[in-house]
C-alpha cells in the first residue's frame, strides 16, 4: 500500500490546494487552520478522537466485508438501525446501572447485524448484488426509523423522529471531562485488534481472505461462499450497528436519524486508505478525522467551505480504486 501511494497523495494535495485557491484563500493558511482546528489543544484533539471513533466503526465494517470480497455500502443504514435499537433499548430499560448501557450496545449490535444480514441473505442465497442491496437498505433504514418514530414508537413530547432521551445510566462513560470523548474510542480500537486477529489467525479469517482474493479457488477448497456472504455481511452490519449505538449512547444521548451523515461512504475511503488492514484503518480514520474536525475551523478562519473535505474524500476513493483490482469479486447477478 505504501509503495506507489505518492501519486494519489499528490493528486489529493493538488486538488486541495486548487480548491482553496478557487475559494480565494491561501492553501497553506487553510492547511494550518485545519490542523489547528483538529489538533491545536486538548479539546480539539479530544474532538478529533471522537470523530476517529465515529469513522472507525463504519470503516472497519467496510474493510472487513471487502476482505471477503463483499462491498458493504450500507454502513449508514446499519448504523441507523443500530442507533435506533440502542436508543429504544436504553430508554426503555427498567432499573439503573450499567445494564442499561450494555443493553443499548447489545441491541445496537444485533440490530445492525440484522440489517446487514438482509443484504447477506440476498447475496448468499440468491446471488443478488450486495452493493445494490446495501444501498437500498440504507434508504429503507431511514424510512423505517422515520415511520416508527413518527407513529407507533413516538417518544412522548417529541417534536420529530427521535427517541426519548436516554437516562444517564445508559450513557457511555466519558474519558476526558468536558469533552465528548467516550469509551467509544477504546472500544473501536479493541475491535480493530480483534478483527486483525480473526483475519490472520483463525480458520474463518483464512477462508474469508481466500474468498476475497479468489472465490472460485476458495469454493473448490471447501469454502461455502453463500454462508460466508451471509455471515460476513451480518458481522459487518453488526460492527456498523455498534458504531451507531456508541453515537447514540455517547454523543447524542438519544436517537436521531441523522446520526451517521455519510460516514458509511467516508468509511469506504478510510477503509481503502487503510489498505483494508484493521490497524491501517485505525491510522486512516485518525487522518480523516483530522480533516473532518478541522474543517469547521478552516471554514471559519480561512474562509474555505468545509465541503472541500468531502470533495477530497471522493477523490481519495477514486484514486485508490485505480490500483489493481481490489478484490476478485465473485460475479453477482
Amino acid at each position: 500500500m505504501k509503495r506507489g501511494a505518492w501519486l494519489p497523495a499528490l493528486v489529493l494535495v493538488l486538488a486541495g490546494a486548487g480548491a482553496t485557491l478557487l475559494a480565494g484563500a491561501n492553501p497553506l493558511n487553510a492547511a494550518v487552520e485545519l490542523l489547528r482546528g483538529a489538533l491545536g489543544g486538548p479539546q480539539p484533539l479530544a474532538e478529533t478522537l471522537v470523530q476517529t471513533a465515529s469513522l472507525l466503526f463504519p470503516a472497519l465494517a467496510v474493510a472487513f466485508a471487502l476482505r471477503a470480497g463483499f462491498f458493504n455500502i450500507g454502513a449508514d443504514g446499519q448504523a441507523v438501525a443500530g442507533g435506533l435499537a440502542a436508543g429504544l433499548a436504553g430508554a426503555a430499560w427498567p432499573g439503573a446501572g450499567t445494564a442499561a448501557l450494555l443493553a443499548a450496545l447489545a441491541a445496537g449490535t444485533l440490530a445492525g447485524g440484522a440489517w446487514g444480514a438482509l443484504a447477506g441473505a440476498l447475496r448468499g442465497r440468491f446471488g443478488g448484488s450486495e452493493v445494490i442491496a446495501t444501498l437500498m437498505l440504507n434508504v429503507l433504514a431511514g424510512l423505517l426509523a422515520s415511520y416508527l418514530l413518527g407513529g407507533p414508537l413516538r417518544a412522548p413530547g417529541a417534536t420529530g423522529p427521535e427517541t426519548a432521551a436516554l437516562p444517564e445510566s445508559a450513557w457511555l462513560p466519558v474519558l476526558l471531562p468536558d469533552s465528548r470523548l467516550t469509551l467509544a474510542l477504546p472500544l473501536a480500537l479493541a475491535l480493530a485488534v480483534a478483527l486483525q486477529f480473526v483475519l490472520t489467525r483463525t480458520v474463518y479469517g483464512f477462508e474469508l481472505r481466500a474468498a476475497g482474493k479468489a472465490p472460485e479457488v476458495a469454493r473448490r477448497a471447501g469454502v461455502d461462499l453463500g454462508s460466508l456472504a451471509f455471515g460476513t455481511l451480518t458481522l459487518s452490519g453488526a460492527i456498523a450497528g455498534l458504531g451507531g449505538a456508541t453515537i447514540v449512547t455517547g454523543i447524542l444521548h438519544r436517537f436521531d436519524p441523522a446520526l451517521s451523515p455519510g460516514y458509511g461512504f467516508i468509511g469506504i475511503a478510510v477503509a481503502l486508505v487503510g489498505g483494508l488492514e484493521p490497524l491501517g484503518v485505525v491510522l486512516a480514520a485518525f487522518a480523516f478525522a483530522i480533516l473532518q474536525s478541522g474543517s469547521l475551523t478552516m471554514q471559519a478562519f480561512a474562509h474555505v467551505p468545509k465541503d472541500v473535505v468531502a470533495l477530497l474524500e471522493g477523490l481519495a476513493i477514486l484514486t485508490l480504486a485505480s490500483r489493481r483490482a481490489l478484490v476478485a469479486r465473485a460475479p453477482a447477478r
Binding site: 445494490i132 468531502a310 485505480s322
Partner: protein, 293 residues
C-alpha cells in the same frame, strides 16, 4: 366524473414530472452498463448536472446554456468513470462511489463558493413549463432513440459487444476502451440532463441533497428493467408513478414512508430473483486490457 378525469390528469402529469429525471438517469445507466461499465455514480451525475445548470443559468441568465452545462458536467463525470475503468482498470463500483462522494462534495463546495451562502443556491432563470414539457418529451424520445441505437445501428452492435466480450471487439480491430469511455460519457450526459430537469424544470434552484437518492432509484430501475432502454424506462416511470402516488395520498392513512420505500423494495425483490433472471451484460464490471502488452 370530471373530478376523476382531473385527478387522473394531475396524477399523469405528476408522474411525468417525477419520472423524467429517473428516466434520463436510468437511460444513462443503461448505456454505460451495456458497454460493460458498472455505473453506481448516477447520483453524483444528477447532482453535478443540477448544480452546473444552476450555476451557469445564474451566471449567464440563460437557462438553455444551463442545460448544456448540466449535460456537460454529467458527461465529464461519466468520462472519468470510463477512463478509470478502462485505462486504469479501476474497480468500477469503488470508482463510482468515489465519484458520488466527490460530486456531492464538489457541488456543496460550489454552492457555497458561487452563491455565497452554503446549503442552497439562489433562484435562477429556469426553463419554465414549456421547457419542462420539452424535457419530458425528450426523455421519452431518448428512450426510443437509445433502443434504436443499441439494436439497429453498427455503433450499437459494437457497444453491446464491448459489454459482452471486449476481447472480441479488439480482435475486430476496434478499440473497446474508447467505445466504453464514449458510452460512459454519453450516459453521463443523459444523467446530467436528469439533474438539469430537477434544478431548472421542476424547480429553479439547487440545494444540497436535492437529488435525494434518485440516482440509486434510477440504478434500481436499470436492474429491475433488465438493463434495456425500454425496460429501464418502464421501471423508472413506475417508480415515478409511485412517487406521484405518495404525494397524492399524503393525507390518507397510508404512511408516506411506505410509498417512498416501494422502489427500493422493488429493487430488492429483483435481486431476489422475483422478477425473473434478466442477465447483466457478460463483461459488465470486468476490466478489458486494451493495452498491447
Amino acid at each position: 366524473m370530471n373530478d376523476a378525469v382531473a385527478a387522473s390528469a394531475s396524477f399523469a402529469g405528476l408522474t411525468a414530472i417525477k419520472a423524467a429525471p429517473l428516466v434520463l438517469a436510468a437511460l444513462g445507466g443503461v448505456l454505460c452498463e451495456r458497454s460493460g461499465v458498472v455505473n453506481v455514480a448516477l447520483e453524483g451525475q444528477l447532482a453535478a448536472g443540477a448544480f452546473a445548470a444552476v450555476a451557469v443559468a445564474g451566471a449567464t441568465g440563460n437557462p438553455l446554456l444551463g442545460l448544456v452545462a448540466g449535460a456537460f458536467a454529467g458527461a465529464a463525470l461519466g468520462l472519468v468513470l470510463g477512463v478509470a475503468a478502462t485505462r486504469f482498470a479501476a474497480d468500477q463500483i469503488v470508482a463510482g462511489m468515489g465519484l458520488n462522494v466527490f460530486a456531492l462534495g464538489a457541488c456543496a463546495f460550489g454552492v457555497a463558493l458561487v452563491f455565497g451562502h452554503p446549503g442552497a443556491s439562489s433562484e435562477v432563470p429556469a426553463l419554465g413549463n414549456a421547457g419542462e414539457a420539452a424535457l419530458i418529451v425528450a426523455a421519452l424520445a431518448a428512450a426510443a432513440g437509445l433502443h434504436a441505437l443499441l439494436y439497429a445501428t453498427p455503433l450499437g452492435l459494437r457497444l453491446r459487444a464491448c459489454g459482452e466480450n471486449p476481447a472480441a471487439v479488439r480482435d475486430a480491430g476496434l478499440d473497446p476502451a474508447r467505445l466504453r469511455a464514449l458510452a460512459c460519457a454519453a450516459g453521463g450526459a443523459l444523467a446530467g440532463l436528469g439533474g438539469v430537469f430537477l434544478a431548472l424544470a421542476e424547480l429553479d434552484l439547487y440545494s444540497d441533497g436535492m437529488t435525494a437518492g434518485r440516482g440509486f432509484i434510477a440504478l434500481a430501475a436499470v436492474i429491475f428493467g433488465g438493463w434495456t432502454p425500454l425496460g429501464a424506462t418502464a421501471a423508472a416511470v413506475a417508480f415515478g408513478a409511485l412517487s406521484a402516488l405518495q404525494y397524492l395520498l399524503q393525507r390518507s392513512g397510508i404512511p408516506s414512508e411506505l410509498m417512498q420505500a416501494l422502489p427500493y423494495l422493488a429493487a430488492l425483490a429483483a435481486l431476489a430473483g422475483l422478477t425473473g433472471r434478466a442477465r447483466a451484460p457478460q463483461a459488465d464490471g470486468l476490466p478489458e486490457t486494451s493495452r498491447l502488452d
